[in-house]
Symmetry: C2
Subunit: 375 residues, 2 copies
Amino acid sequence: MRVVSTSGPPTVETIATRAGVSTASVSRVLNGHGARPETVRRVERAAAELGYVPNAVARSLQGGRSRQLSVAVRDLRDPGHVAMVRAVQAVARAHGYRLVLHSTDTAADTAHAVADELDVLRGLADGTSDGLVLCPVHVTPEHVEALRTAAQPVVVLGAFPDGVEPPADGVRDDPAAGAELAVRHLVRTGRRRVAFLDGPAGTAPGRDRHRGYRAALAARGLTPDPALVAHADTTVEAGTRALHRLLDGPAGGGGRTGEGHGGGVDAVLCADDRLALGATHALHARGLRVPADVAVAGMGDSPLAEAGWPPLTSVDLGAAERARIAAEMLLARVAERDAGTARTPARTATVAPRLAVRASSAPPAPGARPPGVAT
Amino acid sequence: MRVVSTSGPPTVETIATRAGVSTASVSRVLNGHGARPETVRRVERAAAELGYVPNAVARSLQGGRSRQLSVAVRDLRDPGHVAMVRAVQAVARAHGYRLVLHSTDTAADTAHAVADELDVLRGLADGTSDGLVLCPVHVTPEHVEALRTAAQPVVVLGAFPDGVEPPADGVRDDPAAGAELAVRHLVRTGRRRVAFLDGPAGTAPGRDRHRGYRAALAARGLTPDPALVAHADTTVEAGTRALHRLLDGPAGGGGRTGEGHGGGVDAVLCADDRLALGATHALHARGLRVPADVAVAGMGDSPLAEAGWPPLTSVDLGAAERARIAAEMLLARVAERDAGTARTPARTATVAPRLAVRASSAPPAPGARPPGVAT
DNA sequence: GTTCCGCCTGTAAACGTTTACAGGCCCTCG
DNA sequence: CGAGGGCCTGTAAACGTTTACAGGCGGAAC
């Protein structure tokens, strides 16, 4: 004989006893399936009196769905990643899903971060998530394999390597178009020597950005100068140091020490807002005016951009929008799986960049070029 | 007779069949309880071959513990909240817990946000979390009641109203000491007319900050001037506007238009880094030099502080540290509950502020006071 | 050789929910 | 008045795991 324990939180059984009905009726009433008005009344009354809250774990086990979505991002110090998490959270919440946050930013290095991401992918089989929005450092072949065999739907925020069948849905940005947009804007407003302060060398988005940078220059008949390109980790300090180095170099000519060179730097495009802020610091420290002497533009259009001085022109690569779309694609997959529909092929979306023009890229001061000479 | 379905993910039963043992033995082996070496070998082999991943939902149901921790913060646009989430995440992860993020920043207003928080507290009974770190907007009487009856342990990031028995563990900061620290620093480095740009009026931390502000002034024999205090929403733009208003006011005397007043503002303490950045924008726009003419200090010591120009002196209120402690207190509660130990009374910890001095508060330029005169 | 003990294993219950199935009742229709 | 059907309800199984309990077996001690 089953004894209903008087202690512990109320369960369907507690309610059933109190209402004088079966657990099945309790469940039906609570889920809005049909029942006699009298039964409904008694069950609802008992549930209210007991302060009943359904056990979501038991529900998950029975239903095979956890009503939880996972999101994995590399590093919450990146404002873009924060924007993504917020967007996914909003969609999840709107659909009654909880959000599980897998942040791998405690990982010591990239290799660890990749390993963490693969762990998250394998962990999808544990039943705690109905799907995953993954923003990987870099999509490796291991990622592709893990995505193919993932136990739950995954949407990747980022691009897949060329030449492979996309192993999952994806929403990518367009760094090439973004860089091009920014450089066109800089050139259109009168800049001619546009430096490019990129993120760490050797990444796929980096190559894209560089491509866009050169394309925009070429479109205006300007020849890219390799000495105008530098790489740095995406931190403010690294940006400052890198820009100092660049301006001290042969092609710089933008510093107090570089006067007289054949044309100083009059604009800097940075691959990240943090780099861009670091760059403005270097310029300020050298007594160069932004934007009068040198224009600065960042990428990401994070809250940092508005916080900078002067407020920073930045390319919005659509982080939040991408994440929102990704979350919705994911929920569509989940629904598809629930409905037992045949699995449709992977879909890929691309979000176009948008330029947020602010004070840091206003047209140059008349006669301010080359810098150092006009002062 | 039970048929082991060939489809679907492997379960203990699948493994048991393949290894020729019972499900109990599978479970014991997988959990490291004793078994004959031969049995261990066969079970581990079968599990590996099948790529078995234990179902965490079933485990939770059986064990009564979800191995998930919840964290609820108001708004991820606040860098301090991001720091908290990161810290809680790190602790949770280190202890093998998943993190569920409840962000209420889609709430339209404060009332909605409070309602959301109460929902989260009630939701603790659904079995998906073993505990909650809650960073509430403001601890209302409803909060206190909900905390008392919470189904799982909760640690609150923030202070409880005076006079009530603390209904839960808490880790608070010390805004009064923080403000005092900053003002002392400003005064010690030669500032005399220290303005205070606070957050929205009427909040408990606001009163604390104001108290610390006046205490520091009083300690130096300076009389607080009410006209030097202003309130603004914690955004960059609001900070800019509020500081303009303040400087345009009777006691400001710090602007180009305010010259000749009986002593201009020579320092501004802001309740938030975003406000402080907004304040520097206003100062720059007025042609006032930071820190030569006016020093600026913020609170929170978020990444924004280092990104500002000049880099911003800021009071670290210990957001990350508080969150780390909170997460550890929470896990201690969970362990206590597991051990069946008697419930110990609520504990409260306070994290002391720390001042991060940067360029925005370097001593004033000689003869730069009153501002506008020395130029 | 018997007894006892310890180790290992299997059976089955339990966690809390949903739901397939079957049975009961009442109403309607023939 | 009987048959049939619809509606509601209860019983019980299922989700996948852990674990209390009992049984079996081997070895050691007497």
